[in-house]
């Protein structure tokens, strides 16, 4: 049985703040900071306006930031943050007055859903407009770096007035997060600082497992059998759901894990051999395709993460084979009809393979054309520092810490549930994130298109991966 008490208390904070949507979407739009408008921010009742921020006690004592850094050197300036509609934003917003008081820098937000944000960010950097001093960075990190749009942070790390290593404790950041912040191994420099990490975990229905006397699967074969049992014995419940929709953050987010677990990797030889037609990749694609086609919902090939989440929330699926651990609040929250009967476990692995869940980091970066890069760096540093990060996770409903210390923090663990914390921590320690090379968005899109074709039954997994390999290599051949 899961720890109901802990899970409930995890949700209660959200409910108390007037939010029933789980972690995400507390606030939105770029206006609140600017307008000082009606805000539904959690805790402290601050609204992001500097004047009110200084009038009340900061939510984090300023003494926490007692580092060898000249915080106040840019007093009176302003930074513009381009952000995705992500729980991180709502979690940090109540702490923004702390930063504003600490540095005297005004923070202005521009918050958009992912797709829209990408469009806007690209327009901004490709035209050299430089309207964002800080922006969210994802799979396009090396693409942007290659275009010369990103600014490496190393000069700022070396600036003594801006950085204090002893205080910042960079080693507390997960290795996977630090690796991705260095362009997934493609750069020696910091391309940004990681703010959130989500790692793949498995979700299952405890009630159905009990009913059919199933064990939580550690192997892919076991998982497939569990899925089969549920699929065949339950009406209106499919064995499993999983991302099938195309897009470089969609179906291949799952497949990339499976292929690594099966001993293959992306770009066995960069940039000439994509490895996508290797037996490991083909096996992984075949396994995933068969799983979803046999025990997944009709139309599995078009399911995006939100469909996967909704189907599970509605109790129409027995499992999610692997997806972001950030589904947990949604699955256990009030939007979910299975809140009390859902379990979380580490993702399965092949019997002879390695446990290597995919992890994904959002990071924040600054562009070459940004007007206030130094201020931006101070913000990044402050936002990802231990005091801010810990406060967010203890007081502001966050569950995506890139700092190991938070996951080991007992108060945090009891808040979010021991089970969730432990599974996440162990998964993160073994996590193996995707390396996003500079043309990953382009060939990844095509690769995920091919996988989607296989999932839709338009072609075999082998044929799909062979085509994907050809396209990926052609893209780099120019």
């Amino acid at each position: 049985m899961t720890n109901d008490h802990n899970r409930r208390s995890f949700i209660k904070t959200a409910a108390a703040a007037g939010l029933l949507g789980g972690l995400a979407g507390c606030t939105r739009g770029g206006e609140q900071a600017q307008n000082g408008g009606d805000s539904t921010d959690i805790g402290g009742g601050t609204d992001g306006d500097t004047s009110t921020g200084s009038s009340s006690e900061p939510v984090i004592p300023l003494s926490e930031y007692d580092a060898d850094i000249d915080w106040a050197q840019f007093e009176g300036s302003q930074i513009n943050i381009g952000a995705v509609q992500h729980p991180w934003v709502s979690a940090i917003k109540p702490a923004i007055p702390v930063f504003e008081e600490l540095t005297g820098i005004d923070v202005v937000w521009n918050i958009l859903p992912e797709n829209q944000f990408r469009t806007k960010r690209q327009t901004d950097v490709s035209t050299g407009a430089g309207q964002f001093d800080v922006f969210f960075m994802d799979q396009v990190v090396n693409q942007y770096r290659n275009e010369g749009w990103l600014q490496p942070l190393d000069p700022y790390f070396e600036d003594e007035s801006l950085y204090d290593e002893a205080w910042y404790q960079p080693d507390d950041l997960f290795e996977a997060s630090r690796w991705q912040a260095h362009g997934g191994g493609f750069s020696d420099d910091w391309t940004g600082l990681p703010i959130t990490v989500e790692v793949q975990t498995q979700f299952y229905r405890t009630d159905l497992y009990e009913k059919h006397d199933l064990e939580v699967a550690e192997t892919l074969e076991g998982f497939r059998q569990n899925a089969q049992t549920i699929h065949e014995n339950e009406s209106d419940v499919v064995g499993t759901v999983g991302r099938g929709q195309k897009g470089y953050g969609m179906n291949i987010f799952i497949l990339n894990m499976l292929l690594r677990e099966m001993g293959s990797s992306l770009w066995t030889e960069f940039p000439t051999d994509s490895g996508l037609d290797s037996s490991g990749v083909i096996d992984a694609a075949t396994w995933y395709t068969n799983l979803l086609r046999d025990y997944g919902p009709d139309g599995a090939s078009t399911q995006s993460w939100s469909d996967v989440l909704s189907t599970m929330q509605e109790g129409r699926a027995g499992h999610i084979v692997a997806d972001a651990n950030l589904f947990w609040p949604g699955l256990t929250g009030s939007e979910s009809s299975i809140a009390d009967t859902v379990g979380i476990a580490k993702v399965p692995k092949p019997a002879d393979g390695e446990f290597a869940p995919n992890a994904y980091n959002w990071q924040i970066s600054t562009s070459k054309n940004a007007a206030n890069s130094k201020q931006a760096f101070l913000f990044m540093l402050w936002a990802t520092s231990e005091p801010t990060n810990t406060w967010m996770h203890l007081h502001s409903d966050a569950a995506f810490s890139v700092r190991q210390s938070v996951w080991e923090n007992d108060e945090f663990r009891s808040q979010v549930g021991e089970e969730f914390a432990q599974v996440t921590l162990e998964s993160l320690q073994s996590a193996s994130p995707d390396p996003f090379d500079r043309k990953y968005p382009e060939w990844g899109q095509r690769y995920s298109e091919e996988l989607q074709r296989a999932l839709a039954g338009q072609k075999s997994a082998e044929a799909a991966m062979t085509t994907a390999a050809e396209i990926a290599e052609e893209i780099y051949s120019e």
Partner: protein, 312 residues
């Protein structure tokens, strides 16, 4: 433009105001078109030239004018790896089928509503039938997706609950048809409203006359009403066609062009080239060819249908 320069005012009271008024009326057609021409120049020439330029240079940098000229290689990429031709075919398929459905439905509904005798009921239908157009594309796509979801969607559920048929997996088995049907739901109102307004302008005498002749309903429409409405019917259909050619939001939200590239419209292809592949040159190349293509189609349609049947 005809060179009518006769003055409208008598020459006796040439006060400043009168002169101004004369100037206004004498050159009225010029004043009338000038703002339109100005806006049109701004919104066509600059973006057009920009796309044309982007399509023949190497990947742009901040200083676009320092970029290297690469001839037609972006065009080659667009039609090779870029799958431009495939997306053209998909787009034309969607345009033709959706346009046919929407025109017929739109006209049928306009005719049906126009014939409703109760004025209140007619008003009700008039408002109701326009509303689908007002649903924001993102809402339509997101909520449409969940409604069509084969596991938890209400539409497959209803089909299976009320008919003996198994519901298809809309987005993966019949994606193109789904896109066309959703667009039909969304945009038939456009045809409806213009046709309806067009019908309202058909003189009663014309309808009366054909009634006295004893012509059956369909003949009355075919031989009397539609010929009279021809300009409006033609323009509404043409504009809807042009709009269909650049459909983006709802389809992207619904399928993202998938499964595979089964619903990859040209607009989606351009979006992916630009914002995912970071190849604005290829995106611009597709856009340029596409513009030429659509202009050609519009010209053919206008030449074949428009100026012979509608404008002489």
């Amino acid at each position: 433009m005809s060179t009518q320069t006769q003055t409208e005012t008598t020459t006796t009271s040439e006060t400043g105001l009168a002169r101004l008024r004369a100037l206004w009326n004498d050159y009225l057609p010029y004043w009338f078109v000038a703002p339109m021409v100005l806006v049109m120049v701004l919104i066509t020439f600059f973006p057009g030239a920009y796309d044309l330029y982007l399509s023949v240079i190497e990947e742009p940098t901040f200083d676009v004018f320092a970029a290297e000229f690469v001839g037609l290689s972006n065009y080659a990429t667009a039609f090779g790896r870029g799958g431009a031709l495939h997306s053209f075919i998909i787009t034309v398929t969607v345009v033709v089928s959706a346009l046919a459905l929407e025109s017929v439905l739109g006209f049928g509904l306009a005719a049906l509503v126009a014939g409703v005798e109760s004025e209140r009921l007619q008003s009700f239908y008039r408002v109701l039938f326009i509303v689908p157009m007002a649903v924001a594309p993102v809402s339509l796509a997101t909520i449409g997706r969940i409604m069509l979801n084969s596991e938890i969607g209400v539409i497959p559920y209803l089909i299976e609950a009320t008919t003996p048929f198994a519901a298809p997996a809309f987005l993966s088995e019949i994606p193109l048809l789904t896109v066309v049907l959703l667009d039909t739901w969304n945009w038939t109102p456009f045809m409806f409203i213009i046709f309806y307004a067009g019908l309202s302008s058909v003189p009663d005498t014309l309808i009366e006359a054909s009634k006295v002749d004893g012509a059956p309903l369909w003949r009355r429409y075919l031989h009397v009403i539609i010929p009279y409405m021809k300009p409006v019917v033609f323009v509404a259909t043409l504009i809807r066609m042009i709009d269909l050619f650049r459909t983006f939001g709802v389809v992207y939200g619904l399928t993202q062009g998938g499964p595979g590239t089964a619903t990859q419209l040209v607009s989606i292809n351009i979006y992916e080239q630009m914002f995912i592949n970071n190849s604005p040159g290829v995106a611009a190349a597709i856009a340029v060819v596409y513009l030429v293509f659509v202009v050609a189609i519009a010209n053919i349609v206008i030449a074949k249908v428009g100026f012979e049947g509608v404008w002489d």
